[in-house]
């Protein structure tokens, strides 16, 4: 069920974490661990590409919040790219869409 593939790349704006598959209770710890290995410089942007994310539950959202907190702790920022309509709706209800930087594509998230 909850298979997730993670890839980390480097962009001019900062590290890019691509998530493909399902982000839920089972797979979230993998993402949390991956986040620990990502180093962030002040003013950098951690971009999380969600274009290939097929599912995200409350634990998944908690993980994205953890990513945001990590970025802020390093004086950096978190940007989500390619958020699905469904996840966007949930983020609106949760009040998160105002709190997170959200871009339609990875390119837009890098571009600043």
């Amino acid at each position: 069920m909850s298979d997730i593939e993670l890839t980390v790349e480097t962009t001019p704006a900062g590290p890019l974490l691509r998530l493909a598959g399902e982000l839920d209770y089972i797979s979230a710890p993998q993402v949390v661990e991956a986040l620990q290995h990502i180093t962030l410089e002040p003013a950098q942007r951690l971009i999380v590409d969600l274009s290939a994310l097929t599912f995200c539950d409350s634990r998944g959202i908690a993980t994205l919040i953890a990513a945001r907190n990590k970025a802020h702790a390093a004086d950096a920022e978190l940007a989500l790219a390619a958020v699905s309509d469904r996840l966007m709706h949930i983020m609106n209800v949760l009040g998160l869409s105002r709190l997170l930087l959200i871009y339609p594509t990875v390119e837009a998230a890098i571009g600043r």
Partner: protein, 418 residues
């Protein structure tokens, strides 16, 4: 055996022969040694069970000298009482009928009284005339296997007991997190339903209604991230904090700020805990109630009008509670007049999979819920909850999360608590 193979080979080099000789020494050139020191026990008994021959391996396992057994003891003397009965009633008759029997688990008694679990295979050796002469028995040490089986059995029994205990504790805990019945508010009809998705875990949904003063009541309904003991802990903290905060702060937004501070103090970055919640205050207002409510990341409440129709009470921008030290919440105010019903729910309801044929993964959603409420209105709290129960039952396996629903109404015919 090895020499046979050698003979079958093509003419070989002298070096080859030397190598074969070495192999011969390394391999079993002595049938006697193989018999005595085999990795299993060998035992030959006469037809009456008397031990005629036994190998060193078995003697070592049992701690007997050869002369203590051969000619003096029978096979059944080596068995436990239970094993002896089994031997008499099953093993021996089957062996004499079939001429062989294998894979029988027995326990042997060693000289020091300890028990050795073994697997036994026996065959009857017959003479040239077909008459049985001897019984040959191979004995395999089954200590590892027995330990493994016992461990499995013990683990299974323990797991079953644990599960029963856990389910009992959980049902008690779940009850302790929900009010046994909602507080009676004169003139108001109240009803609630909690669908628990799993008997194995405490759910993360919660609700309550409680008095704040002569004409004021507080209520809330929410959903904690995660399940289980951790979620139950946070739920308990949330209930306590909301009830406490509501006494000191008449503004629902202020109450949520206090809750946010309390939940955020429990924040763990590796496993963030948070909740979504609607908190509201009911104030008697002539022949109706004024409802002021604030939402922290929770799906909007529904208002079913006494004159028909339904609408969401949007509280946009309220952040889910506990993820940020600084959060913002928004309030909404509505008047509950005769025939109106306020309905709060958790997303277990709107996120249920409807298993429509066209799209089996499609979720019920807020629009369907609005249509459902519009179709019901006007309806009092009891009617709404009954209809929601039926709706939830209709989801079948599509409902895999907890779902809590609470309804507050001003019925046409005067209120009563349910």
């Amino acid at each position: 055996m090895m020499s046979d193979t050698g003979q079958e080979r093509e003419p070989s080099e002298p070096g080859d022969r030397r190598q074969q000789a070495t192999f011969g020494e390394l391999l079993e050139d002595s049938a006697e040694d193989l018999y005595e020191n085999a990795p299993c026990g060998y035992l030959s008994t006469l037809l009456d069970g008397q031990i005629a021959k036994v190998n060193t391996t078995l003697l070592k396992w049992l701690g007997y000298r050869r002369d203590e057994l051969v000619g003096r003891r029978s096979f059944s003397d080596l068995l436990t009482i239970g094993g002896r009965i089994y031997h008499e009633t099953h093993f021996a008759p089957l062996l004499s009928m079939q001429g062989e029997i294998g894979g029988v688990a027995l326990e042997l008694r060693a000289a020091d009284g300890t028990r050795l679990p073994v697997l036994i295979t026996s065959t009857v050796k017959k003479g040239a005339d077909g008459q049985p002469l001897l019984i040959r028995t191979t004995v395999f040490d089954a200590r590892d296997r027995r330990a493994y089986e016992q461990e499995l059995l013990r683990a299974r029994q323990e797991a079953e007991r644990e599960r029963e205990r856990l389910q009992e504790v959980l049902s008690i805990l779940q009850r302790s997190l929900l009010p046994p019945s909602l507080t009676n508010v004169p003139g108001l009809q109240t009803a609630a339903h909690y669908h628990i998705a799993s008997a194995d875990q405490v759910g993360g949904d919660f609700y309550d209604l409680f008095p704040l003063g002569p004409d004021r009541w507080g209520f809330f309904l929410g959903d904690v991230s995660g399940k289980g003991a951790e979620a139950a802990n946070i739920t308990s903290l949330i209930r306590h904090t909301l009830r406490e905060a509501a006494v000191h702060d008449s503004d629902p937004v202020g109450v949520l700020h206090r809750l946010n501070t309390a939940v955020h103090a429990q924040y763990r970055s590796h496993d963030p805990r948070y909740c979504t919640v609607i908190f509201g205050v009911l104030t008697r207002d002539g022949d109706g109630f004024t409802v002021t409510l604030a939402s922290g990341g929770h799906p909007p409440a529904l208002l079913l009008r006494g004159d028909g129709g339904a609408a969401y009470l949007h509280t946009p921008g309220g952040l889910l509670v506990g993820i940020m030290a600084e959060a913002s919440f928004t309030a909404a105010t509505v008047r509950l007049a005769l025939g109106d019903t306020l309905m709060l729910y958790t997303d277990g309801l709107t996120e249920a999979r409807t298993s429509r044929e066209a799209d089996p993964m499609s979720l019920y959603g807020e629009q369907s819920l609005l249509d459902f409420a519009t179709g019901l209105a006007p309806a009092d709290a009891a009617t709404v909850i009954t209809a929601v129960r039926q709706l939830l039952a209709g989801f079948g396996e599509g409902l895999d999360d907890d779902a809590a629903v609470m309804a507050l109404s001003m019925p046409f015919s005067g209120g009563h608590a349910t």
